[in-house]
Symmetry: C2
């Protein structure tokens, strides 16, 4: 199996867009009928509903986009049955040709970090969850990231390290200045080093960075600082990031980043124009329209057209 970075590049080129659909199932936002008992349903009912809903999203987006990003927290909230559903959804997405970036923001030290990596990473049935890539947190330092990198390299998998996050309070620590530069740029230096060590044929590494869409100037600075690093960009849409905001994340070929949209796509049936056009019963058509519209926005307003 080719390295994650080259599999991601191939997928982005094949689809002609860098859209990453976030699978964040929330009981209270599911289309009517999928979870008749509502958010107080039993764990097995919640797990079945999340499974059905995410498969429904995957069926629609698999022909359109390169990758999906399930959010581990929503599955973990249900309990072990939710974690079983997560594994099933990851496998289902991969069978449909999608890459799967699991958003788990895991981190620990030494052999404990290795245990997370062995559990979560490894497409092709090499781990119980088998994601193609995983998000990880850097606070514990370089020796906490290294075991994740080692397992990822062994399994043709990828990582995205939190660098600059999209939430309003992300700057509390990430923006603290040290030697005249904010903390996130120090983290960026180390992540770029890991990316350069893991570079594939496409010129980017299998270790990437999470960089929020809500800070366009910082996206541009980091793009220059991190020439070998794929960016996973959250914050598009519901958090306020626009197509022109994220344009700076890309190189001249239209490569180097994937742009996440979760709620704006998967719960489109409840949003503005899509609610009116499709409503809850035709929720999959709403997902499709929102995905197509985002791809088009990135092309026209952002000038992003990977080929």
């Amino acid at each position: 199996m080719p390295p994650f970075t080259d599999r991601l590049e191939t997928a982005v080129r094949r689809c002609g867009n860098p859209v990453l659909v976030g699978l964040d199932p929330r009981a209270e936002m599911l289309p009517e009928g999928i979870l008749p008992g509502g958010k107080d349903s039993r764990p097995d009912e919640l797990a079945a509903a999340y499974n059905q809903f995410c498969r429904g999203v995957i069926d629609v987006v698999a022909p359109l986009v390169p990758a999906v990003k399930p959010q581990a927290a929503f599955f973990e909230q249900i309990g072990p049955q939710g974690m079983t559903a997560l594994a099933e959804i990851i496998q289902y997405a991969q069978k449909k040709g999608l890459l799967v970036i699991l958003d788990g923001k895991r981190n620990d030290i030494g052999s404990t970090a290795e245990a997370y990596a062995r559990g979560l990473l490894g497409p092709g049935g090499r781990s119980p969850w088998g994601a193609d890539a995983l998000t990880v947190s850097p606070y514990l330092g370089g020796d906490s990231l290294r075991p994740f990198v080692d397992v990822a390299m062994d399994r043709s998998a990828g990582l995205f390290v939190l660098v600059k996050t999209s939430n309003p309070g992300g700057g509390m620590f990430q923006d603290l200045l040290s030697d005249g530069r904010p903390l996130y740029r120090h983290v960026a230096d180390y992540v770029e080093k890991l990316a350069a060590e893991t570079t594939g044929a496409c010129g980017y590494g299998s270790v990437g960075a999470v960089v929020g869409a809500t800070y366009p100037e910082q996206l541009a600075e980091l793009r220059a600082q991190m020439p070998h690093t794929w960016f996973l960009v959250p914050g598009f849409g519901s958090q306020g990031g626009t197509a022109s905001d994220v344009a700076a994340a890309f190189d001249q070929r239209g490569l180097g980043a994937v742009i996440n949209n979760s709620r704006g796509i998967i719960f489109a049936h409840a949003r503005g124009q899509y609610a009116q056009r499709f409503g809850p019963e035709r929720w999959q058509e709403a997902v499709e329209a929102a995905t197509v519209d985002m791809i088009e926005q990135l092309r026209t307003e952002g000038g992003i057209n990977p080929v």
Copy 2:
């Protein structure tokens, strides 16, 4: 149910020691006979072995110490069956009178952070895993910690935020100087604020800090900086921290910290004097002896004698 902080104080006083036994089951280190097929066993066999082993540890340590700390990564490595075993072990420990601090180092933003908290925290059957407290990572900033605090307060649960970790590379980012102070002291300011907001009758808050035993001077500085904050201190024993190293984590009453020991206790049957005295068959006696010896070391060498 009283707040976590007061339940912890009561448990430490009742036991007369601050020992936190880490439940880090590793397939390759289990006593002979518990996992006949070794580390390549099926997930259900691994989960059953981890369950049996951790119950065996709990049976021995429950009358001796206030709390245990299961490490989520080792259970997650097995897959969903491991996560089921984790839930069963947490419940078993609580039935035996132990507090359970789940070491998950989770973190995310907004409603996603809330989903982790709702899934993992909440003794008394209020969540699928039901831990009394959870470790969390601060990189995403204050607004990522707030949802964890809100759920913890609602459920009489606690948190331990990573501040200064015990691993050799922990300083890569945590020690970066900003305004003349290392990053971890900025994080410490915010955690102390959360601790002060959540103070119980015992004078400490339900939000605590993870501070490694491998930096005794920093432990003393942080104790002064964080008067309302319980410390969860890893790094004792196998990572090199001694009883006198950790003494600075305590107040004059012998309260304010719990000292973790994982491998040094649960795999004592394979270590030096305990291996000779007990060997693999009498592994539970080795666990008991190592626990009693650690309590005694903290009393005699560390002068730690909470009453």
